[in-house]
């Protein structure tokens, strides 16, 4: 039996493994192998024998938490792959597109108050998205509000029997109120993804 099979040593290495859970598996296994190797050598040279010797060797090695924290400090933060960033930007842009699309469709066809739900969701996704500049966010918000505005104006016309002389222009205006958010949605999708598809981001 190797002297690193001692229960105290097993417990110690298990504690290091637990504390070092944040390390990559490769780095963690390397650390554990280094420590086990150290313990084997140190025990062979340790004057005290038995459990006392094991305890002395482990006490000099130190607190598993401190060792794990040092190892985590040496590990450079995992670079996020550009592929992942593209996927995330596309998913976010599609969420904005779908939610604002739902909002404009509902605003025209049903109760504008129901449209508020996807509208708020879509705007939240838009403003939380780091990939858009403020200008894009303002454009997106204005476009998202257009169908709602149209629905409200239309409801007022119906309620008060107003005649604004829209007449034949009603359908083109309604189409524009729906098409505008769709067009802006695609613009947002494009502006989110375009910078990621350009030349690879230069490493810092």
């Amino acid at each position: 039996m190797s002297n690193t099979e001692h229960p105290l040593v097993r417990n110690y290495l298990a504690a290091v493994a637990r504390e070092a859970a944040g390390l990559s598996p490769e780095r963690r296994n390397e650390l554990l192998a280094d420590l086990e190797e150290h313990i084997a050598v140190a025990l062979a040279e340790e004057p005290a024998s038995g459990d006392d010797g094991v305890r002395a060797v482990l006490a000099r090695l130190g607190d598993p938490r401190t060792i794990a924290a040092t190892a985590l400090g040496e590990e450079p933060p995992a670079p996020q792959s550009p592929g992942f960033a593209v996927v995330r930007a596309v998913v976010r842009a599609l969420a904005v597109l779908v939610l604002l699309g739902m909002a404009s469709t509902l605003a025209i066809s049903a109760n504008p108050f129901i449209a508020a739900i996807p509208l708020i969701g879509g705007l939240w996704c838009l403003w939380a998205g780091p990939q858009w500049r403020k200008r894009d966010k303002v454009i997106g918000t204005a476009a998202a509000l257009a169908p709602l505005l149209f629905a409200v104006v239309q409801a007022m016309i119906a309620a008060f029997g107003l005649h604004l002389g829209m007449g034949d222009a009603f359908f083109p205006v309604m189409l524009a109120a729906v098409a505008l958010p769709a067009a802006v949605g695609f613009y947002l999708l494009w502006s989110a993804v375009r910078p990621l598809l350009g030349p690879p981001v230069r490493a810092a």
Binding site: A40, V41, R60, L61, G62, D63, I67, E74
Partner: protein
Amino acid sequence: MEPDIAGKPVAGKAESQLRKGVLEYCVLAILRDGPRYGVELLETLGAVNVMATSQGTIYPLLSRLRRDGVVETRWQESPSGPPRRYYELTPSGHAALKEFIAIWPHFRDAVDHFITG
């Protein structure tokens, strides 16, 4: 100061930050005179009080030095106990140490200049 698990006083912030900055060059300097195995290297470091730290924290550092190519290791049988893994400087390790040795006196003087005003 409260004692840590090894019974040594817990280092203050200034001490541990300074040690973090210079420890790897102390390791390179110890290896300048020839290969050492892990336990031996740690005993040499631990013999100087200010560099004494929980021994296990040196292994992540040694692992990085290996990855950076400033040290390399080779196994050697021992007449007593398990084989030892010896660490030795590579040419780039020698160069890194040389660079540190050149800059250190300036650094030390600059700090002295400010703190002994």
